[in-house]
């Protein structure tokens, strides 16, 4: 079960080419694979989250970001149209956009002051004809041949995505109907950005991707609610899996029912004695019908979180094979009343880098990365809730993780596992 190799035709013979229940740890540690991801995956047929439209309200607004490790920036031009551009001067490669966000009429590369419109078109270059007839560019130099490299941009419900691919499916199709339905719910009216958080976590970006598609750990790694007997979301819920995209839904439950789950299973650290001194921390208002927590994952690096009244997008930004930045954008609705807005702010105690029910994720990722780096031939064991990839009415399942690995393996043209070639898992190149 240890091999992992590239395949010229990932779907050859109609047999599955990856075993999503046994993933070789090499996927987390191999620098060559990481380099290939940049090309095949991030610059391949995927839609990558760039920002919220709410961050670019006005003409001239821009925002720097990354697609994989490729630096990009997103602009709203004078006509109100959105553009995403590789943040690299067409001249000699310097980074053109040098601020995280701001408002400008043009982007000027500081190195030689090549100046670009917000749609990436080159406006002008200094000393184009040289000085006093000497030097400069040849007569056939055309500004139009030296634009910034554009990405294709599409938006869905105020979420801005970009792709380098001409062949990727249109955005709604890429997202899938179930994912769109959920985005329709969360982004049902105009949102406003309430802040950001950033974390540098020393693990491969896919360890975190697994974490966000894993409802099993939710109440076991994050013991805050169990410790204080303050459970609001339950083990009751389910997973919706659409290819490598997915969403986790936790339903509201009675507190008593929750507590019984913990006492019966004697899960570590449930305590009847500890109580919150100030329960106003958990004051909340139901916003979304029956569910209290939803975590949606859009391949490759977007997570949309709704935990009680906290709303956020989380973007996984790879920073090398063994680290990533987690960039969280918190939002509320424009029409939030002050009480609800304050709930969102207070509840942000629960999530993010210092989140009382979230901070463990960074730790868990690093525990995995450290333990897998010395033995990349070993594999994980992902059979919770069976071996299939389908919707499940349970949160005690790893169905969405299997969906991720199947999609990832196929997109990357990888083969691993027993089914790859019938040689006890030692996959070979075609």
């Amino acid at each position: 079960m240890s091999g992992l190799t590239q395949s010229q035709s990932a779907q050859s013979n109609g047999h599955p080419t990856v075993d999503p229940t046994r993933v070789p740890y090499r996927v987390f540690t191999d620098p060559e694979l990481y380099a290939r991801e940049q090309e095949v995956l991030f610059r391949g047929p995927t839609w990558n989250y760039l920002c919220l439209e709410a961050e670019l309200r006005n003409p001239g607004d821009f925002r720097a970001n990354f697609v994989g490790e490729t630096p990009v920036f997103i602009t709203r031009d004078a006509k109100g149209e959105l553009h995403a551009l590789v943040n690299r001067c067409a001249h000699r490669g310097a980074m053109v956009c040098r601020e995280v966000r701001g408002n400008r009429k043009t982007m000027v590369c500081p190195y030689h002051q090549w100046s670009y419109d917000l749609n990436g078109a080159l406006r002008g270059v200094p000393f184009r004809r040289g000085i006093n007839g000497r030097g400069g560019y040849a007569a056939d130099f055309k500004l139009s041949e030296h634009s910034l490299t554009p990405l294709k941009v599409a938006t869905y419900r105020g979420l801005v995505f970009g792709t380098f691919s001409d062949s990727v499916a249109p955005l709604p199709e890429y997202l899938g109907p179930g994912m769109c339905e959920h985005l329709d719910t969360i982004f049902n009216r105009p949102v406003t950005v309430l802040g950001f958080s950033r974390q540098l976590i020393k693990g491969n970006w896919k360890v975190y991707a697994e974490n966000t598609k894993d409802p099993y750990h939710g109440s076991l790694l994050h013991m805050f609610h169990a410790t204080f007997g303050s459970y609001r979301s339950s083990q009751d819920g389910g997973m919706v899996v659409e290819g490598f995209n997915s969403k986790m839904i936790a339903l509201r439950a009675e507190e008593a029912q929750e507590v019984s789950v913990y006492t019966k299973e004697s899960v570590q650290s449930f305590s009847k004695t500890l109580k919150l001194a100030d329960p106003s921390l958990l004051a909340s208002r139901p916003e979304f019908d029956r569910f209290t927590t939803t975590i949606q994952f859009i391949f490759p690096t977007l997570v949309i979180q709704q935990i009680s009244n906290t709303l956020a997008t989380r973007q996984i930004v790879p920073r090398g094979v063994d680290r990533f930045e987690l960039l969280v954008t918190y939002f509320g609705y424009e029409d939030d009343d002050p009480e609800l807005r304050n709930m969102r702010i207070k509840q942000s105690n629960l999530i993010g880098p210092a989140g009382l029910i979230a901070l463990e994720d960074g730790y868990a990722v690093e525990l995995v990365q450290r333990a897998v780096s010395y033995d990349s031939h070993a594999t994980s064991y992902i059979e919770l809730g069976g071996r299939g990839i389908e919707n499940q009415d349970s949160l005690v399942t790893e169905t969405a993780i299997r969906g991720f690995w199947k999609g990832y393996g196929e997109l990357m043209g990888l083969r691993w596992g027993a089914s790859a070639d019938g040689h006890n898992g030692t996959a070979r190149a075609n």
Binding site: V100, V193, L194, G195, F196, S197, R198, Q199, L200, I201, K202, L221, M223, F224, A226, T227, F228, S269, S271, L274, L276, A277, D278, S280, L281, E325, Y330, R341, I345, K346, S348, N349, G352, P353, A354, L356, L359, E360, G362, Y363, A364, E366, R370
Partner: protein, 161 residues
């Protein structure tokens, strides 16, 4: 109270506060605050954008206690030590007995887990924006806003700054 004496009291308060955190006497930490208070850790990024989302937030001593109870009983994280360096303490305002102060801080974090035992790094640097009041002659933080220049948190933040 003259300025010299006031400065001495404020410095003593900050010294005691830092000592409490650095020597892992976290249970005493909420007592540095008034019953109704604001303790807020906010990234520089949000503070400069005028955006409200904090990393940590508490508006009562009870809520600060809850964070410590969670720290001791609920949260999983790599064990570590803090060492605060606080400097450039200045009084920026006095109004109705409330003293507004600013101070620069840096926190070095030393890991105590098997993988990184004894490794230290600059964990967080920023500014304390405090409002200090005297209750029965004892100075306490009515407000402590920690503006964290290190907006990119290394792994996680669980121990207060």
């Amino acid at each position: 109270m003259d300025t010299t004496e006031l400065r001495a009291q404020i410095e003593d308060l900050i010294d005691a506060y830092v000592d409490c955190l650095d020597s892992d006497r976290l249970e005493e930490w909420p007592d540095f605050f008034t019953e109704r208070c604001i303790y807020k850790v906010i990234p520089y990024e949000n503070a400069t954008l005028g955006m409200p989302i904090p990393l940590m937030y508490g508006d009562s001593r009870g809520m600060l206690r809850d964070r410590i109870v969670a720290h001791r009983n609920a949260n999983f994280f790599a064990p570590h030590l803090y060492r605060h360096l606080v400097s450039h303490i200045r009084i920026v305002g006095r109004e109705n007995g409330a003293i507004s102060t600013r101070a620069n801080y840096a926190v070095f974090r030393t890991m105590l887990d098997p993988s990184d035992y004894g490794r230290s790094e600059l964990f967080s640097v920023g500014v304390y924006q405090d409002v200090i009041v005297f209750e029965d002659g004892k100075p306490r933080f009515k407000e402590k806003i920690v503006v964290v220049d290190t907006s990119q948190v290394p792994t996680l933040l669980v121990t207060p700054l």
